[in-house]
Symmetry: D2
Subunit: 354 residues, 4 copies
């Protein structure tokens, strides 16, 4: 059985990675790609890696054929997503949304951080949050809707929240944390998007690292929502000179109680257990910390743990590819689940070892 | 039907790329990986991108199980290959050799450029040269042997000769060239191998380009053999700060006759025709020149043509991934042909668009 | 004695490098920087490396104070330069022009390659060509004008012509060349300018090499003019993922006569002799080829030679920093000469060894 | 007046940067460079950026001429330093030590973190700690000794402690901190030293970020000593794919008291006041965070501040070049002070703006 799918906003970095993945997917037929900027151009003219591999042509976003698809991946900016999602659902199309529009369950929080009013707040409680290892139950419900031919809406987790939550969840869930959660993340430049700017110019980004958005990045409330830590996450992103890759280093200062009884090997085992069923999340042996290159180009995540006994601080590090487990890969993982497929269909590859 | 295969010398850059490819191959079962340096270590301990993906363990090169395989990929240095190939063939194992040992048909040329005596020159005429788009007939003969349960030997083309020959062959074959063929190639650092050295130290290679081996690189006679231009190739390799990717820029000064009747569109069409059956080699439209990033991580090659009418010079540019079409990918393409499979089995992927 | 100088077009990559150099120059006082885009903004707000180092503010290009300066560095695009140079000279200001507008001695050639009519062709014969090691006599004449309080005009050589001509000049001058001169050059991304574009986006340029403008780049006639080889230069630029650095690899196929008597050591010695008085151009020992990193950030050039006896081909490789010896450094070297200073005033630094 | 100086351990990355700096220094004459590995080789043969710039030759470390110098820069590994410092002081030579051997005032702490017994603990209280902006009084005392012709010993601060302490000191000193200080640092690959290894191979380091030594890096006690926070620093270094540059992101969770009265502008002003006399440390305007590229190749440091009012957390970010303010530049700054020179002699340059 095959599903007919499309990608709206296929010309951006997350969108084009979706296209790459979907062209190789065993159960999804990619029928349609839209991008308002590239409409009318061949896919392989815009992205020459597709030369000889596909004859797809970008169409406008308001392509009426979209409503005939089984499922649409939406890779447009926030606010643009909520302007099309209600109609798609209305038309019976299941939507896997990569934007931020339906991630936050509280419309007020959305408005505070995104500075715009939410135009379809009634959909927020209905959207399944797309971080399968943590919110798998929501995705299962979406799958049940889909199985009944009802349209489902999945709001895929953002790149920073994904790496951070995968690294922190089991420890936070175990109640170890005292005070704020300190999260420092390093991202590759694809995380800043396709639009050329002085910041993403090769000559600005190369041979440079910098922090940005310290304390006010929009992924903060999303992390707080996933981890159940409202008002307690200190989030500082950094930009480093690589294309893909995202490393989240989380420091959890333990409460005195937690520190007294802390056993790193036990915690490590609880992480291994927590992720045992996931084909994508791998907990490294103690003594190892993850490298982003080891997951680059794949939907995999690697997590490492260390404990600083002097300061009673747990250090959890998560590595993902921001365009994969942080965007396109995760979206397809969610779509696989919604469609009743194996969650790793089309996503089984190994990162280039070098 | 599945074939049992192994990789000898699996710990180097070409070897480990073979491992990645073979683990995802639909018809090859990777039974065995050897590497004298890593023997006894888990694959995923040496290359963490395999964590959660494989339980393979490196063994020593003299593993007796090798002789029970259907086919062995040999990714060891030159001279090391010719020390094991005769025994493997003797044992009935088909060998896909990535080294230089069986590429040159003339043992004297080998000795001149490699500085060692060839120890099994009688195998040279029997080895199929592994550059399928150009020497496909030799591979077809190897396939016939294999089909009869006879061991075959393939000597895969080197990375520089592959990109250069794919770019130059149809033009040279058309008799356009007058005088020497000037070949300048830019390679990523994986081309220099895995062994750490001051030259491959990040702080030496980063933010630097340099030429090396100008006029005396060992790939020169191989290019001359493929193109039928003995003593006429000027070959200058360069190193640039990227991991994978190889761009060969070939300049062919046309004879006066050739120039008088030259028609770029016609030549372009002859390239398109020549590569029409190849799933991997794509000739770009006139006006386009290839980018190595567009083939990175894949077995694809892209070729662009331009003509400088002022100087009667044809410029042909070929882009490959040196570890793929220049090594592991091409080896598997050859193995596919030898085993009677579709030549792109396990090699259909599209380069990451970003 | 100090000279009052300004930089027009100071916000671009060549312009800002001039600013850096001039702020540390012992005999030039930088009074004024103009940039139409950044007018009104502090230098250190646009380029934070100047924080704490300068209080300069960008002004508009039509700043009347320009005409009170002793000397102006002009770092604006071609055509923009010729729209201001006549007035500046009229006002008695010496101009060091980094654009292409006054490089080509033949206005027709300019119009052919740049597609616009030259608006002050009468200045072309008066402009000194700024490549001191080769056209030092023209600069000496400019210095004589300046010494008499007459305004001089210097048209600095372009980046590709500089590296190429330094590498090729002594050999071409010796009459060794037969047929066309094949020039393949690799440049860092600063060579593509400051304007953000999809081509200079980090995620396009990183991990990629490509050829461009093969056979039709505008620096071709400039190289032909310097080397006295009209219609004989085949010029192919490439882009590689580094910020600064330019490597020109020149192949000269020797005439039969030249080849018969060719002696590499003698030629090497003639290079050493030719550049003996230059504080910037260093000819490497035979057996060595230059690395761009060894000249990065400096006005230095390094040249290496090799000979392919099989094909009678001389290989000459030149490395420069495209923003220094290829732009700002060379402009200051020319200004030093014009002003009667030591040509290396303010330019004596050594490249960062790592 | 000129001082005769030498560099012991000149072949490593910090050592060779010292050589570059000292060759351009107005008051230091570099007489001697030692490196046991390169002894007998010319400086420019090992590091070609010195071609045409210096005729220095590396000697062995046990060169007797060392004891005739005024001042020696010691750029050898820890433990190697303490094996030569006592003799040098005995011989009357002032030592600027870049190793860790004399940084920690407590020999027991040294032994705990470095795993070796200190062989000259009596020198520890006499060594001036070399971080002029914070321990300037210790350097003034060293200057007084030097002025009396007595040898002085300076233990220069490490790269991570320098960036971290410059960013954190005024805030910590103001008593704002509650609980541990969380320090996450990103370093370029030069920080890992010159010795080739699989970790510093271009193909490992490129396109990768990773954390390492989380919670057990040897710079931890040094940061604690400078900031007066024994047992309270959580220190996590990261490696990113750039040559030079170090960014320290420090998060200080404020005590409730401190948070109640916190005023970011006031704190910012106290930073500006604290660094007002430093020619190197620049506090950015609020709203700005530093980029490492803006200080690359210079002894400058840039510091940015932000406040996360939701979590009562101050974020202080410091950027340096690890080989400059983190090593060679700081050593020369200390030497300048000790010799009674302006502290920025030979160190006034501006980072390349691009």
């Amino acid at each position: 059985m095959k599903f007919n799918v499309g990608v709206v906003g296929a010309g951006g970095y997350a969108g084009i990675e979706l296209v790459r993945r979907l062209l190789g997917h065993p159960f999804f037929d990619l029928h349609l790609i839209t991008d308002n900027e590239y409409a009318g151009q061949r896919l392989d003219a815009v992205y020459p890696s597709f030369i000889g591999k596909s004859d797809l042509v970008f169409t406008k976003r308001d392509n009426p054929e979209i409503s005939e698809l089984d499922l649409v991946f939406l890779a447009v900016p926030h606010t643009a997503a909520m302007s099309v999602v209600p109609d798609l659902l209305e038309a019976g199309v299941t939507v896997i949304d990569l934007s931020a529009d339906y991630r936050l369950k509280d419309a007020d929080v959305y408005e505070t951080w995104y500075g715009v009013k939410h135009t379809s707040p009634s959909l927020l409680p209905k959207a399944a949050f797309g971080l399968p290892e943590i919110t798998g139950d929501q995705l299962d419900q979406a799958a049940q809707r889909f199985a009944k031919n009802l349209p489902a809406l999945v709001a895929c987790a953002g790149c920073y929240p994904t790496a951070t939550s995968l690294a922190a969840y089991p420890a936070v869930h175990a109640g170890l944390l005292d005070g704020p959660l300190f999260v420092q993340v390093i991202s590759g430049v694809t995380g800043s998007g396709k639009k050329p700017s002085s910041r993403t110019h090769f000559c600005s980004a190369d041979e440079n690292v910098e922090a940005y958005g310290a304390g006010n990045h929009r992924h903060t409330p999303e992390i707080e929502q996933i981890l159940g830590l409202p008002g307690r996450v200190v989030f500082i992103p950094h930009l480093a000179p690589l294309k893909r890759g995202l490393l989240s280093t989380v420091t959890l200062h333990l409460s005195d109680d937690a520190a007294q009884n802390f056993d790193l090997e036990k915690l490590h085992q609880s992480y291994v257990d927590f992720y045992r069923e996931s084909p994508f999340v791998h907990v490294l042996d103690l003594g190892q910390l993850p490298r982003t290159a080891s997951v680059c180009g794949t939907n995999n995540a690697q997590i490492g743990l260390a404990y600083d006994a002097r300061t009673h601080t747990l250090i959890a590090v998560g590595a993902i590819d921001n365009l994969e487990k942080g965007a396109a890969g995760q979206a397809i993982q969610c779509a696989n689940i919604v469609c009743g497929l194996s969650q790793d269909a089309g996503l089984t590859d190994v990162a280039m070892p070098v």
